[in-house]
Amino acid sequence: MIGLVPTVWAVASLTFLALYLIPGDPAQVLLSESNATAAEIAERRAELGLDDSLPVQYGRYLWRLLQGDLGESLFTGRPVTATIAEQFPATLTLAIAGMIVTVVTGLGLGIVAAVRRGSWLDAAVSGVSAVGISTPVFWSGLLAIWLFALVLDWFPATGQGGLQYLVLPAAVLGFSSAGAVARVTRASLVEVMGKPFILVARSRGIGPRSILFRHVLQIALLPAVTVIGLQFGFLLGGAVVTETVFARQGLGRLVVKSVLRKDLPVVAGTVLVGVICYALVNLLTDLLYRALDPRVRSHLR
């Protein structure tokens, strides 16, 4: 976890620099729906400390972060921590639900394709994976709303509430990552099934089902676990778009909005939360890897 410190510093600094460099004056944006005069806008900019030099602003920003103070939003005046705490559960719910869809469909399709390799099923799975990987979420989202909410009327189109609101966005989000997982699962299964020890097992008369579940999956799933861990980052990113299409609250919409009005404290806070999430998921992936693979375990000892 100590290794996280330089990462957080780098990300925090990059975020600061990026927001500093994109053109625009938050004071001008703040007062852009008022009758404020040019002089009053300049006065507000000074009040916000935006007239200070880059090193001064950067130093103040880092010093605050060091004290664990994410600051207040320039626009809402509320503490960034409170804002994030409000939006985070929605994004986490969506990302986890999307993850479940990814894992179940990705692994399922991958296994089916590998077992029936060369058959029409295999071709169908690789077709579906390609569609999943290459379809942008904003499009598949609108398509899903049209089909399942408007034509079939199975689920609500937008918004949030109970589980029925979660199904469509989670499915759309999860499906976008499932293709990659299915591909890796299939490739890895095919590779393992060609290994000599499987031949040996088969020659000893062990049934195909038993071979698959007892010997092949255990080894073949390892690369899939890695990919699933990586896909989580992708899911967090995809959640941004999914939240917009399905009009759900969440960090994604928050960060887009905040970037668009140069609300540095909120953007920095959200990005840091994203980094920490991603690091935690990677840690979890490593632990899972260790649990699944005896070789890594003995090596680490």
Binding site: I22, P23, G24, D25, P26, Q28, V29, L30, L31, S32, E33, S34, N35, A36, T37, A38, A39, E40, I41, E47, E72, F75, T76, G77, R78, T83, E86, Q87, A90, T93, I96, A97, I100, L142, I145, A149, L150, P156, A157, T158, G159, Q160, G161, G162, L163, L166, T244, V245, A247, R248, Q249, G250, R253, K257, L260, R261, D263, L288, A291, L292
Partner: protein, 530 residues
């Protein structure tokens, strides 16, 4: 093996256990006499004293009463929380007699002390007001004269004061509630005296209001009926393509800002009704920058006005739903004059004549004009709002037809504002909404916050300054007429279309009306038929 399984099982159980509890956090209750109202933008904050968006006023103008109201039918100010008022001869002292027996939603009494508390809060720099603070002119002080009498003293006359006081941004909040929750949290616990009580706000998700059964002091335009809805939930539909869908699938019963391409369908649909509302203020318009060549030349600005086929642009993009704009104010705004309706009509040969007279010729045969080795290139900045990109595209074609090349820059909102202030643009779209013509001062005076034309004209400064201070309405309107004439003669702005908010509702919704600002619904009378 066993340990491994246990770990996996543990993770699975944790995930499954986590899911419903997270989902439950957001589960709303389903109640029968409830109406869902679709908002189109998530405001950055919703405290009307602090924040500026029009969107916040849609729910909150039904939570707060104002001292006076602007009657949308007559354009007259009518009593609200103040039953009577008088203005001193010099326009510096406003005295209000307050209504008795008015009670905030938290049970505390409304009185003169509350008025002082609210206005003091708005102008306090620590409040960080983004709009309200700039609606009071040069406020000197607020004095409590008696329990139900209050005086507002100005340092300089400010004619739009009553108009300001009739807006939700200067609505009267419960001092007890403001003190209790503090600056940042009060917006989640707002307490007014209006026909609806604030229940809860979950940012980005929903805002709920409940009917205030004690409401008896409202003006005629906010009267309540027994059968009006008990609860209104506001939800957010930021993506325009989801708005009509939400109405059609009955997820929402009222929705604002329907895209024009969906409006016709809704107008024809059996279960839906369209409510177009004209918005007072400025039209969709493009400012010409006087400080950057080639738009520093009057001939070029005029030529570009003549080159623009506004009729076709409006008809193609906005359909029959909005009128073509002709001047700096939209038709439904106080101070609008029809003087410019026949001016700058589409006339390609007139545009070409003007450019040639000014020395802009196409000497190398590339269909683009040049003068003194300079190409006729127009830098156009815009932020991709609403249908602006489509409008920009048509303008590009229109201007190319007279030999002017447009460089369009689609940039973020802060970047566009920054470019406009720095003067990097030749042309930029921007506008504000509002019922009082004093808004022109922000755009066309040399010290205005939105002087995106970079105009420095002593005569305009004087006209607009006098108009904002004048207590004599006919004189005021005459000053605004002169200012607008100057603005159009100098071709500072290219007006395109008057804003019309295309609201839509389920036809079960009855009694939906809108206030004088056009954006804000008067919800006290709204009923939901079975």
């Amino acid at each position: 093996m066993v340990r491994r399984k246990r770990l996996l099982l543990g993770i699975l159980v944790a995930v499954i256990a986590l899911l419903p509890s997270l989902a439950a956090c957001q589960a709303g209750d389903a109640e029968p006499q409830k109406l869902v109202y679709g908002l189109t933008l998530i405001p950055s904050g919703i405290d009307p004293h602090i924040h500026a968006s029009s969107e916040l006023g849609i729910p909150l103008s039904n939570v707060y009463d104002t001292l006076v109201y602007l009657d949308p039918e007559t354009g007259e100010f009518v009593p609200g929380l103040a039953t009577e008022w008088s203005v001193s001869e010099d326009g510096l002292v406003y005295t209000f007699t307050l209504r008795k027996g008015v009670v905030f939603h938290d049970g505390t009494r409304f009185d003169a002390q509350a008025v002082k508390f609210n206005l003091d809060r708005v102008v306090d720099p620590a409040t960080g007001s983004q709009k309200a603070r700039y609606m009071l002119g040069k406020l000197d002080r607020v004095e409590v004269v008696g329990d139900h009498s209050v005086t507002i003293r100005l340092a300089a006359p400010y004619a739009p004061l009553l108009d300001s006081l009739s807006q939700v941004y200067l609505g009267m909040a419960s001092p007890a509630a403001v003190d209790k929750w503090g600056k940042a949290e009060y917006q989640f616990h707002q307490v007014g005296t209006g026909p609806f009580k604030f229940v809860e706000y979950i940012p980005g998700d929903h805002l709920t209001l409940a009917r205030n059964p004690k409401y008896k002091w409202g003006p005629e335009l906010l009267r309540q009926v027994d059968s009006s809805v008990d609860e209104i939930e506001f939800r957010f539909y930021e993506d325009p393509s989801t708005r009509t869908i939400a109405l059609e699938s009955e997820q929402a019963q009222i929705m604002g800002e329907i895209p024009p391409q969906d409006a016709g369908r809704i107008d024809q649909a059996a279960g839906l009704a369209l409510h177009p509302v004209a918005i007072p203020g400025q039209p969709l318009q493009f400012f010409f920058n006087l400080s950057r060549p080639p738009t520093d030349e009057l001939a070029v600005r005029r030529a570009l006005m003549y080159a623009t086929d506004r009729e076709t642009i409006v008809e193609t993009i906005f359909g029959s739903w909005s009128p073509v704009a002709s001047g700096p104010l939209s038709r439904v705004t106080l101070g609008y004059v029809s003087d410019f309706e026949g001016r700058y009509l589409h006339d390609v040969s007139r545009a070409q004549e003007l450019l040639e007279e000014a020395g802009w010729m196409d000497s190398d045969g590339d269909r683009m004009r040049e003068k003194d080795q300079r190409q006729l290139v127009i830098e156009l900045y815009h932020m991709g709002w609403g249908m602006v990109p489509e409008v920009v595209q048509m303008i590009e074609n229109d201007w190319a037809a007279v030999g002017a090349q447009v460089n369009a820059h689609l940039v973020s909102y802060p970047a566009a504002l920054e470019a406009a202030r720095a003067g990097d643009h030749n042309v930029i779209p921007f506008n504000l909404f509002g019922t009082d013509p004093a808004q022109l001062g922000s755009f066309y005076t040399s010290g205005g916050g939105f002087n995106f034309s970079h105009v420095q004209d002593a005569e305009l400064d004087e006209l607009l300054g006098l108009a904002a201070a004048s207590q004599d309405l006919p004189q005021r309107l005459e000053l605004y007429r002169q200012a607008q004439t100057k603005i159009m003669e100098q071709a500072l702005v290219l007006p395109i279309r008057d804003y019309v908010n295309l609201n839509a509702s389920s036809s079960r919704v009855q009694g939906l009306r809108f206030d004088a600002r056009g954006w804000f619904p008067l919800l006290s009378e709204v009923q939901l038929e079975d």
